[in-house]
């Protein structure tokens, strides 16, 4: 099953890329996007594990579907907080990073 291995490695790489984005981004919107990349990378990894033995397994699929919807709702809450924070402080970054240059 080279196909599912390929997708699993892609998922693993997506988690790494997303994690890097989470660390390196300062703008909070970009952090939310990077966080979503981590989540979907894990979904791809899990989905590839479900497809590993040929027949697709419904249990990971069911978990991923609920996961996708929860990820969207978490992003909506996070974005709401980012906008509220930016309106209050006029800055899209966290306070402790304002001094860094």
């Amino acid at each position: 099953m080279t196909g599912s291995t390929l997708y699993a490695l892609t998922g693993a790489a997506l988690v790494g890329i997303g994690f890097f984005g989470l660390i390196s981004a300062q703008h909070l919107m970009r952090r939310v996007v990077a966080f979503n990349l981590i989540g979907s990378g894990l979904f791809v990894f899990l989905g590839a594990a479900g497809a590993r033995s040929g027949a697709s397994d419904p249990i990971p699929q069911a978990l991923i579907i609920t996961g996708i919807v929860v990820a969207l709702s978490a992003s909506a809450l996070a974005i709401g907080l980012v906008v509220a924070h930016a309106r209050a402080s006029r800055r899209p970054t966290l306070p402790e990073e304002d001094g860094e240059a």
Partner: protein, 312 residues
């Protein structure tokens, strides 16, 4: 040849993800993330997970784009959309190495862990008793009903969290920013043409969920996105927090789910276990209520808290 296809798709997904993270500018990251969601729904079809692909398509193509872009617009209007001048963090290399290590650990886990027997033998024997043909729906609404019930409550919690960000003076207003379009213009006509087809597709997905790919989650997200189109095009004015009908829509899914669970307990099958004779019809009822709740909750989440009177 299919391997070439998978390689191309995976390379494209990784390139788009890298562009999302490395490219400068918030807007570029958002657009690449939208592209990423579209590609991912193709990948789910390749992974033989059409149910997931349906949910990812409705969310990736419809809801996330509007969510991120409208937030970008709000940030731009207060001048907070630009990135701080310190584009690169100190310690770029350690961060990159740590993330490569994370990827390596996941890859190692993939090769090191034993390949389990799939689909699990327990599932194969239980499926005929589930009351539905689609195994994903059977897992979601019957075998792992606990997860799904709690998940629908998590959605409500997130929505309440978003509502708490509303200012007191906006609380009785309609959700989101005031929407207005040119009457008879392109956007208004798009908003009139799309909803009939969209509602049909959403209801169809909920209806066929028992036997074919589809179900409450996929249909609910499609209906939420259709509602969003209607609201953005000015066809439908968003409701208010205080309207009781919409609040009932929000809790209908979890409530019906709970009632079905208690009925299962009374009939002796155990809490949240659907007895075999009524499983099929119970799942159908739960699915309709859950689709309504998911559609209303996701649409409200994306359109945001009431801020009709908000002026920057």
């Amino acid at each position: 040849m299919t391997l070439v296809l998978d390689l191309t798709l995976c390379a494209l997904i990784l390139a788009v993800a890298l562009a999302t993270v490395l490219g400068g500018g918030v807007f570029r990251a958002i657009v690449f993330f939208i592209v990423y969601g579209l590609l991912l729904s193709v990948a789910w079809v390749r992974l033989d997970a059409v149910d997931v692909a349906l949910a990812e398509a409705a969310i990736g193509a419809g809801l996330t784009g509007v969510l991120f872009l409208s937030a970008f617009g709000k940030l731009a209007r207060i001048g907070a959309e630009a990135e701080p001048p310190a584009a690169r963090i100190r310690g770029f290399l350690p961060a990159a190495l740590a993330c490569a290590g994370l990827t390596g650990a996941l890859a190692w886990a993939w090769f090191a862990l034993p390949v389990p027997e799939r689909p699990a033998p327990d599932l194969a024997t239980a499926l005929p008793r589930a009351g539905v043909e689609n195994p994903v729906t059977a897992v979601l609404l019957n075998f792992r009903a606990w997860d799904t019930l709690l998940e629908s409550i998590v959605l409500l919690a997130a929505l309440i969290g978003v509502w708490m960000l509303a200012r007191d003076e906006d609380w009785h207003d309609r959700f989101g920013l005031p929407q207005h379009v040119r009457p008879g213009g392109v956007m208004a006509n798009f908003g009139r043409l799309l909803p009939p087809v969209g509602v049909l597709v959403g209801v169809y997905l909920v209806y066929v969920g028992a036997d074919r790919p589809g179900g409450a989650f996929q249909g609910g997200t499609v209906l939420a996105a259709v509602g969003l189109v209607a609201a953005l095009a000015g066809l439908l004015r968003p409701p208010r927090v205080t309207q009781i009908v919409w609040r009932m829509g929000l809790v209908a899914g979890p409530l019906v789910f709970l009632v079905a669970g208690i009925v299962g307990a009374i009939l002796g099958a155990g809490f949240l276990t659907l007895p075999e004779p009524i499983a099929g019809s119970a799942i159908f009822v739960i699915e309709i209520a859950l689709a309504i709740s998911i559609a209303v909750t996701l649409a409200f989440l994306v359109i945001g808290p009431p801020e009709q009177g908000h002026r920057e």
